[in-house]
């Protein structure tokens, strides 16, 4: 098998590259060649892979090699982060109308994707959240599709509206909507027949349903095992019908599931749910980070990276807290904090969790400024970083020149540093009182438990 030892090969390639500070073009090219293969093997669409590789390369070249990671691992880390980002960063949730209005969800997708089962599962989820749900059986084509929905509805205790197969799906949807309104249902889920995206009549039918009832969410349901064609399917459904969100099914299989990336890249819509089995409770929130790891399929490298990150974070944080205890917050500490905060989505994010931290103006440092601040600090000498008191006008001028900024930027940065210093001292004070014990532990800075 050509790709069995991908991880191994990957590690071999980079074995002798340790110790570099920055990723050079060659490292990145070599690494991305393997990444490209991995993505293609995972069924990510060829064109999506091409774009992804190009963009990620641009980001990775010149990037700093993370401490205690090899250049190759650093590339993989960047790749994973980009994949997560492409996949939507965080789990998405459908926004429902208030209880007294009807939120209408319409299922759409190819034959056999899993719409009917998923429609029922969705109904079950919302029922358990206390909503009144009505399922509408609008697949009048596939033999026994209505029976299937009815049986599932019964099992879940969710009502199913059906009018047999002798009437048009548009009419059924309309009547179901009327019933939902008059009987005060809060969610209407319309199950539709599977159809090919190139079947113009059938695509028109979905448009007609949308025109007849006020559909809030058209959810494209896609089989996780889909190959290259996922892109065409998503494109066509988007263009012809309009898609508001995605559901990926059959993720309990052993497929890498690259289709998830393809459809997400093409539609730009959130993936709301993941189908994880045949039981009616097997529908879960979709987690972009898990999917990213699954697609890239380098489980062992990724866990290695995570372990390394953990130790780096912990060691660095130990140093910072140590300094704090001695009340010497340095530019090195500042840099560490910056890195950690960037991971956590900015300072305002952290501040919002801290009681009584009003002294620090969060808006002064936004995400885009991080990079500039970093480059200024990196232009300082070792001594300057370790000893903030050394700062002088001539040093500032040199730092500005070295980092391609001007004196005003450096002054602002110094001010921000001083604010941070104060802020950290305050926190240190609180820490002594035991309020913020977990603050510098991995909980906060790994961002796992809290975000």
């Amino acid at each position: 098998m050509a790709f069995e030892s991908l991880t191994e090969r990957f590690q071999n390639i980079f074995n002798n590259l340790r110790g570099k500070a920055k990723l050079d073009a060659e490292d990145v090219h070599t690494a991305m060649k393997e990444v490209k293969l991995a993505l293609l093997e995972a069924d990510v669409n060829f064109k999506v892979v091409k774009d992804f590789v190009k963009e990620t390369k641009a980001k990775a070249i010149g990037a700093e090699v993370f401490e205690s990671l090899s250049p190759g691992q650093t590339v993989i880390r960047i790749v994973r982060d980009e994949l997560i980002h492409l996949m939507g960063d965080t789990a998405a949730e459908l926004e429902l109308k208030p209880q007294n209005q009807v939120t209408v969800i319409m299922m759409a997708g190819l034959q056999g994707a899993g719409k009917t089962t998923t429609a029922a599962k969705l109904g079950g989820i919302y029922k358990s959240k206390g909503r009144r749900v009505l399922l509408a059986a609008c697949d009048v084509y596939r033999p026994a599709a209505i029976d299937q929905l009815k049986t599932n509805g019964e099992k879940l205790g969710v009502e199913v509206f059906s009018m047999g197969t002798g009437i048009s799906p548009v009419e059924i949807a309309k009547s179901a909507y009327d019933k939902a309104v008059s009987d005060k249902y809060s969610i209407l889920i319309i199950d539709t027949a599977g159809r090919l995206h190139i079947d113009e009549n059938m695509m028109q039918e979905l448009k007609d349903i949308k025109a007849a009832v006020n559909v809030d969410y058209t959810l494209l349901t896609v089989d996780a095992m889909t190959g290259q064609d996922a892109v065409t399917v998503a494109e066509e459904f988007s263009e012809k019908v309009g898609v508001d969100g995605l559901i990926v099914t059959k993720l309990d299989g052993d497929t890498k599931g690259g289709a998830a990336l393809s459809i997400r890249a093409v539609t730009g819509k959130p993936i709301y749910f993941a189908g994880m089995g045949e039981k009616l409770t097997d529908l879960q929130v979709f987690y972009p980070d898990r999917m990213a790891s699954r697609i890239i399929g380098m489980g062992d490298i990724l866990s290695l990276i995570e372990k390394a990150e953990e130790t780096v974070d912990l060691e660095k944080q130990k140093k910072v807290t140590e300094h704090l205890r001695k009340s010497q917050f340095t530019y090195d500490d500042f840099l560490t904090q910056m890195e950690q905060m960037k991971k956590m989505g900015g300072i305002s994010g952290i501040l919002s969790m801290l009681p009584g931290m009003k002294g620090f103006d969060a808006d002064q440092i936004d995400q885009s400024q991080f990079t500039r601040i970093e480059s200024m600090i990196l232009s300082m000498t070792r001594e300057e970083r370790a000893n903030p008191k050394l700062m002088s006008p001539s040093r500032k001028r040199r730092i500005a020149a070295g980092s391609g900024t001007d004196i005003a930027d450096v002054n602002r940065m110094v001010k921000q540093f001083e604010q941070m210093q104060k802020f950290m001292k305050q926190m240190n004070g609180m820490k002594k009182h035991g309020n913020l014990n977990s603050l510098f532990g991995r909980n906060l800075f790994r961002g796992k438990g809290l975000f």
């Binding site: 098998m1 050509a2 790709f3 293969l37 293609l40 093997e41 995972a42 069924d43 669409n45 060829f46 190819l110 034959q111 056999g112 994707a113 899993g114 084509y141 596939r142 033999p143 026994a144 599709a145 209505i146 029976d147 299937q148 929905l149 009815k150 049986t151 599932n152 099992k155 090919l196 995206h197 190139i198 089989d223 095992m225 889909t226 190959g227 290259q228 064609d229 065409t232 399917v233 059959k250 309990d252 299989g253 052993d254 497929t255 890498k256 690259g258 289709a259 045949e278």
Partner: protein, 306 residues
């Protein structure tokens, strides 16, 4: 409508896509060089042939180009089609079961088109003058029994079912008795869709398979694995696992009326000795066709010149 016409109709989109690709490929390239092969590689990957099989095809083609001193892109196209269709050709006795006493077990992952393909097969066999028994051994999925019943009625086949949730093996036992007592020609067993990585469900299938072998030793046995043409590289894993529990004798490649290329069967043919026997080109009773590799390749690779 003949096989090729139907296939052409079904594959309109496929054909335009892929042949446009190839036509541009061969039109743009006046010589057979690296760029040419790179582009060819892209087309194969986009058809779900997969990296490994694509690599193999490309190096084989390069070798031929070198050995046979092929200079014209057109000739490479010919050679390519020849090579691949030779590789995916079904054996000569692939369809003999239809004229014997036979039992057909139909397996595959969820939603690929097992029940529909059974319905189409039953229609065809009835037309062929055979007495057919359909066994509803998918006792799991809601509505599955009713779905097969509709096809039994449509085709005029005998129908064996128990209630939802009952043991599929029991349904198969009963079906064998009925098949024997009514002296029917062909018994077709529908099974529940199952993901190939679920040990218990695969074990259940293996059990059904053993029952058929044991109870019908003198009857020709076919096991059809249904694959969805839209499926990507995971199909290889599907084949591997189904091979290990019930040794499929043929593949039914469904949904070839869509825009998916179905190229995965090319990859499968290079790893497994299981021929594609039928393709599904729609949801109607007549939408099942014998698989003809030459026409299949031609429909994929050639522009419509008529």
């Amino acid at each position: 409508m003949g096989f090729f016409d139907k296939l052409k109709e079904g594959l309109t989109k496929t054909r335009t896509n892929i042949t446009n690709g190839l036509d541009t490929l061969f039109g743009d390239y006046s010589q057979v060089d690296d760029d040419f092969f790179e582009n060819l590689e892209e087309i194969l990957i986009m058809a779900d042939v997969g990296m490994k099989a694509t690599d193999a095809i490309i190096s084989k083609m390069k070798e031929r180009v070198r050995e046979e001193h092929i200079k014209e892109p057109d000739k490479v196209k010919e050679a390519l089609i020849e090579t691949i269709s030779e590789q995916i050709k079904p054996c000569d006795d692939a369809y003999d079961f239809a004229d014997q006493k036979a039992v057909v077990l139909v397996v595959g992952v969820n939603g690929v088109g097992k029940t529909t393909s059974i319905g189409k097969l039953a229609m065809g066999l009835k037309e062929h003058g055979k007495r057919v028994v359909l066994a509803a051994a998918d006792t799991f999925r809601a509505g599955a029994i009713e779905q097969l019943k509709v096809w039994a009625d449509r085709s005029g086949s005998d129908f064996v079912a128990q209630e939802e949730g009952s043991d599929p093996a029991a349904v198969v036992y009963e079906a064998i008795d009925i098949y024997n007592s009514r002296n029917a020609d062909i018994l077709i067993c529908d099974t529940a869709g199952r993901l190939h990585n679920k040990k218990n469900l695969m074990e259940e299938l293996s059990k059904i398979n053993r029952i058929l072998e044991r109870k019908l030793p003198d009857v020709r046995k076919e096991v059809f694995l249904v694959l969805d043409a839209t499926t990507g590289q995971n199909a290889i894993s599907q084949v591997r696992e189904f091979v290990s529990v019930c040794r499929p004798t043929g593949i039914i490649l469904t949904k070839m009326d869509g825009s998916a290329k179905g190229g995965i069967v090319i990859a499968i043919s290079s790893e497994f000795d299981i021929p594609v026997k039928y393709i599904g080109v729609g949801e109607h009773p007549e939408d099942l066709q014998k698989f003809d590799p030459k026409e299949f390749m031609r429909a994929i690779f050639y522009a419509d010149k008529d």
